[in-house]
């Protein structure tokens, strides 16, 4: 949902609710959601590579005397707390045949270059609300080697996993049902070919799916928009009340800061 002078929508705030559904009930839930939304769900298969900053969080040093209470000279930075550093993700879509045994040694690096997207997710804001709100940035990598870029920014590849599931849109809400797969042995880089399905294991062995309900706001400062979004999520939650439980996530669990 946007206001009239909306900034580009690759940086925005998200309103979030999460729930879970067991593997046995997931197909029925997907059909029910597709019925509500009036459209077929879109299959998603995404590779998420996580990058961790190599610097440790620095503290801004105060320079000079401490009598300058009256004001800061232009150019001086206000005394900030220790600057936080965050995890970043490189995400791309994965074709199913990259996960076959032949696909993993076929030139998945040779054929066509992959389209990566750099994703930043801030820690959700504190405060009691009916949904979590967090700032998010999605930036398509148009040109160049994304991993080299991250290294130049002093970020190091840490791990990666695959998300598989479906996504559909119901009015303003993007509903995603997915679960995560982890490679049995991970590679040293984000760009190396993916292991075949036999080498992937479920993060959650019970096969439970995550349900994510996500409304994107373009204008954080407009309370009308925020309230409309919260109301819509509430309406969705009551509509699905007997089918699935959508809850506000614990903000510290979604905290992407490096400790």
């Amino acid at each position: 949902m946007t206001s009239n002078n909306a900034p580009p929508l690759n940086s925005l705030h998200e309103l979030l609710l999460f729930g879970t559904v067991s593997a046995t009930r997931q197909p029925a839930l997907l059909r029910i959601l597709a019925g509500y939304a009036g459209l077929q769900p879109h299959a998603i298969l995404e590779l998420h590579a996580y990058f961790k900053p190599t610097r440790s969080p620095t503290v801004v040093q105060q320079r000079g005397g401490s009598q300058g209470i009256t004001g800061l000279k232009p150019g001086q930075q206000a005394q900030a707390g220790p600057k936080d550093l965050y995890f970043w993700q490189l995400v791309r879509n994965v074709e199913e045949d990259e996960l076959t045994d032949a696909g993993s040694d076929a030139a998945s690096s040779g054929t066509k270059p992959h389209k990566w997207q750099l994703q930043f997710r801030d820690t959700p804001e504190p405060g009691k609300r009916s949904a979590a709100i967090r700032f998010a940035v999605n930036q398509d990598v148009v040109h160049g080697d994304p991993e080299a870029y991250m290294q130049a920014m002093e970020y190091r590849y840490q791990s990666r996993h695959l998300l598989e599931g479906h996504r559909l849109v119901y009015n303003n809400v993007v509903i995603s049902l997915y679960r995560a797969f982890v490679p049995r042995e991970d590679s040293a880089t984000a760009l190396s070919p993916l292991p075949p399905r036999s080498q992937l294991q479920l993060l959650d062995p019970s096969g439970t799916y995550i349900v994510e309900a996500n409304i994107r706001l373009s204008d954080r400062s407009n309370p009308t928009i925020i309230n409309t979004g919260l109301k819509e999520l509430d309406r969705l939650r009551t509509q699905l009340r007997d089918i699935i439980d959508l809850k506000v996530p614990d903000r510290l669990k979604l905290d992407t800061r490096v400790k």
Binding site: I32, G38, S159, D186, I210, D255
Partner: protein, 213 residues
């Protein structure tokens, strides 16, 4: 994040062609129907001309309709977005194309058109091109609800059928209306919080030594 599919591009181009043809034929018909200034000129074209023009317009409409319904799923899921190659000095074009809602005048006109067609056609089937979706419909016919049930929740449907089968006189036990309980999950599921943590920061590799970060 996908590349433009050549098939999809061709579909869009075909739609554009058909719309263009339709628009041209309708325009020429309209031009010929408009009364000429010159009183000596016979304003109404011959019946034969009218019949053939009507056939042309109808043919274009039909082919367009066929094209749209064949590609209904793609069109429903497709959405417009500008790439970097868009000529950004024409920004007004981009904002016009990206509008989610049509102009209010256009919307009322569309609504009027829909009412008119529903009034005309006695058996109104749910249109494959109905973007409004079932949520916005005012009237449903029972066949449509039946389809929705079959699509959305076959297990529930089955339970209801069982229930009504009992009501119809068979002296079966009430336990038949209950579905068999789902098989107990064998593996305990991970708490949602833990999974969300992994989705936020990935999996920390095993620490190499006491000083590794």
């Amino acid at each position: 994040m996908d590349d433009v599919d050549p098939d999809e591009l061709r579909t869009l181009d075909q739609i554009r062609q058909h719309l263009l043809n339709l628009s041209l034929s309708m325009q020429s018909l309209q031009k010929d129907l408009v009364a000429q200034e010159d009183p000596r000129y016979n304003p109404l074209p011959s019946k034969q001309y009218l019949v053939s023009a009507e056939k042309a317009v109808k043919g274009h409409l039909e082919s367009l309709h066929r094209l749209l319904s064949e590609n209904a799923q793609f069109l429903r899921e497709a959405h417009v977005y500008p790439t970097a190659q868009f000529p950004w000095n024409q920004e007004h074009l981009a904002t016009m194309l990206l509008r989610k809602r049509l102009d209010p005048g256009v919307e009322t006109w569309l609504a009027q058109g829909r009412e008119a067609t529903e009034a005309l056609s006695a058996d109104s089937q749910p249109d494959a091109m109905d973007y409004d979706g079932p949520a916005k419909r005012q009237q449903f016919d029972p066949a449509y609800w039946q389809d929705l049930w079959d699509f959305a929740a076959p297990e529930t449907h089955q339970a209801i059928q069982n229930t009504f089968a009992d009501v119809e006189g068979n002296q079966s036990q009430p336990s038949q209306t209950r579905r068999p309980p789902p098989p107990a999950p064998e593996v305990k599921e991970l708490p949602l919080d833990d999974v969300l943590r992994v989705l936020a920061v990935g999996i920390t590799p095993v620490v190499q030594g006491p000083f590794a970060r």
